[in-house]
């Protein structure tokens, strides 16, 4: 089937919408304006069809079968891993890409497997004030278990990490955990100085790429981090599949996380030997169809070209910042850098003193889907001095008409509450 993504080199959100069945669903009232991709993206037909076709023609468990469809399953599962690895520039895709349930599990894996083995009482780790709860709480749990010191890079009034404090705070740390793109502010964090500070202290860098990898061309070698966690469902793939990329030698030096089938080479009644990478970290039957679906999502994004995806989002973010500011002026506060080149397509909004839930409810009447609340980043909410925000987030299937719909719907909030 001919697909609209054949227009390589540029992204036309209005045209691409036809690839995403849910955006076309029949409904009462206005068309669906989906601005919540930072929470979870919609899925193109190509991903849905790939998963259906797999279940209908090749499905069997992986790793164990000696019959033809089991071999097909093995091959498709391995191909998906390679696709995902190449998508992020992994030097050794077949060994360094670990499939998990989601980015949260990936980060818990690093904390509980690498961290518990390599960190000791009194060790310090450095996180940031803008982390998602999933890159905070696993470290809190580990800190309680081991007695670690937790330090934080703060966020300045422009939504940027206060890197002036980096050298002081990184002194003596064993690990730095940082999001590559804030899920609230959209801020793209410069990994360079952070990696440099980590190296100077012999620390490792754990990157949370949940918001970054789906939207920005990613090369783990260029980034310089040691672990990178991200999730499939925010990058056009299905739920239930996450990724942990780790440098091969680090993964080799990390004991298993979950125990069970597949992750072992041998089991005796007096012990076990773990399997090779990456299976050492994939206990039990993995999310096979989900991995294959994620592979199809990667194909879709690569056909668009990640440079084009990023370019599209820079353009659309610029348009959104301009439109919302022009139409709503002082009534609206957009938290974060407000600079399309230094942020992703994420706009966290406060509209006068309308509570984000009321705002989201009003926007819903106009078909506009945004996320309202603390976005699983309560420490950052406290830093911003708000209980929550309404967040509009953009992706490949959005265009200027979606931004216009958002701007228009906000006038209805004005009419209702003031």
């Amino acid at each position: 089937m001919a697909r609209l993504i054949d227009r390589v080199g540029s992204v036309d959100g209005g045209l691409l919408r036809a690839d995403f069945p849910v955006l076309d669903r029949p409904r009462e009232g206005p068309r669906l304006v989906y601005l919540d991709s930072a929470s979870s993206s919609q899925k193109p037909r190509a991903v849905l069809e790939t998963m259906d076709a797999y279940y209908e023609s090749s499905y069997a468990n992986v790793h164990r079968g000696l019959y033809s469809i089991a071999e097909e399953s093995d091959r498709l599962f391995a191909e998906a891993r390679t696709k995902v690895g190449r998508f992020i520039g992994a030097p050794v895709p077949g060994r360094e890409v670990v499939f998990t349930k989601n980015a949260t599990e990936s980060l818990n894996l690093v904390a509980q497997a690498w961290g518990r083995h390599h960190l000791r009482e009194g060790d310090a780790i450095l996180l940031t004030e803008m982390e998602h709860h999933s890159n905070l709480v696993p470290w809190f749990i580990l800190a309680e278990q081991l007695g670690l010191e937790l330090r934080y890079l703060s966020v300045d009034d422009h939504g940027q990490l206060a890197l002036d404090d980096l050298e002081r705070l990184a002194d003596g740390v064993k690990l730095i955990g940082v999001t590559l793109m804030s899920n609230v502010l959209g801020t793209i964090n410069p990994l360079g100085p952070i990696v440099e500070a980590a190296r100077a202290n012999g620390a490792i860098v754990v990157g949370d790429g949940s918001q970054y990898v789906p939207h920005v061309p990613t090369d783990v070698t260029a980034l310089g981090c040691d672990f990178l966690a991200f999730t499939g469902h925010k990058m056009l793939g299905p739920t239930g599949i996450g990724v942990l990329w780790g440098r091969e030698e680090l993964l080799d030096a990390t004991p298993p996380f979950l125990g069970g089938g597949s992750m072992i080479r041998d089991v005796r009644l007096d012990g076990y030997e773990p399997n090779e990478l990456p299976w050492k970290f994939e206990a039990g039957t993995p999310p096979i169809a989900e991995a294959i679906g994620l592979g199809a999502a990667v194909d879709y994004l690569q056909a668009l070209g990640m440079d084009a995806v990023r370019g599209h989002e820079i353009d659309l973010t610029a348009y959104a910042l301009d439109t919302l500011t022009r139409r709503h002026g002082d009534a609206i506060v957009i938290h974060g850098p407000r600079d399309p080149c230094r942020q992703g397509g994420l706009l966290s909004i406060t509209y006068k003193d309308v509570h984000p839930h009321d705002l989201s409810q009003v926007l819903d009447q106009a078909g506009v889907c945004v996320r309202a609340g603390h976005h699983c980043a309560k420490p950052l909410m406290r830093r911003l001095g708000v209980s929550g925000t309404a967040r509009a987030s953009l992706y490949v299937y959005n265009d200027e008409s979606d931004v216009d719909a958002l701007a228009e719907a906000l006038t209805q909030a004005e009419a209702l509450f003031f």
């Binding site: 009232g29 009321d358 209980s387």
Partner: protein, 168 residues
């Protein structure tokens, strides 16, 4: 599709903009009860001054959406000066208002054919302004916002009952 006018009635917006009985009471002697919805972050603190089986005073603080805050304001005006038994009856009536409509939604029709009375009220309890919150049940996600302060009130009365059993 339910319209916004079902949810944001004028009386609700009035209580949101001008909350009644806003503030704190010294605790102790007042009983302080917190209501918190971790999913959306709505927070309510209810202060109850119970004197001889009567809610002599009630104050509310907190922050959250218009529904949670206006419902708390309405709750405070309705139960202030009432006996504990009367307050419990109002709580039942209000919960009934919410759950009857939930049941209607579940049954897929809008006619209220369930066993409960269509208006969901307790006999002899006038809901007054509270009836404006009826529309909330057309937005099931928001029911928790509306009931937050009522659950705190119920908890406070229960705790009060444990400390000083009311005369039978």
């Amino acid at each position: 599709m339910a319209g916004l006018e079902d949810l944001y009635r004028e009386i609700i917006l009035d209580h949101y903009r001008n909350p009644r009985n806003r503030g704190e009471l010294p605790s102790p002697p007042a009983r302080r009860v917190e209501g918190f919805n971790p999913l959306c972050g709505d927070e309510i603190v209810v202060y109850l001054d119970v004197d001889g089986g009567t809610i002599a005073d009630v104050k509310v603080t907190g922050q959250g959406c218009s529904i949670s805050q206006s419902s708390a304001s309405m709750m405070s005006t309705v139960v202030k000066g009432r006996s504990i038994d009367e307050a419990r009856a109002v709580i039942r009536a209000f919960k009934g208002l919410m759950s009857v409509h939930e049941a209607r939604l579940d049954s897929g029709d809008g006619d209220g054919n369930g066993a409960a009375p269509a208006d969901g009220t307790e006999p002899g309890v006038a809901l007054g302004d509270l009836a404006a919150l009826q529309g909330v049940v057309k937005f099931p996600v928001r029911i928790k916002c509306a009931t937050l302060s009522w659950n705190a009130l119920a908890q406070g009365l229960d705790e009060q009952g444990l400390d000083e059993p009311s005369p039978a």
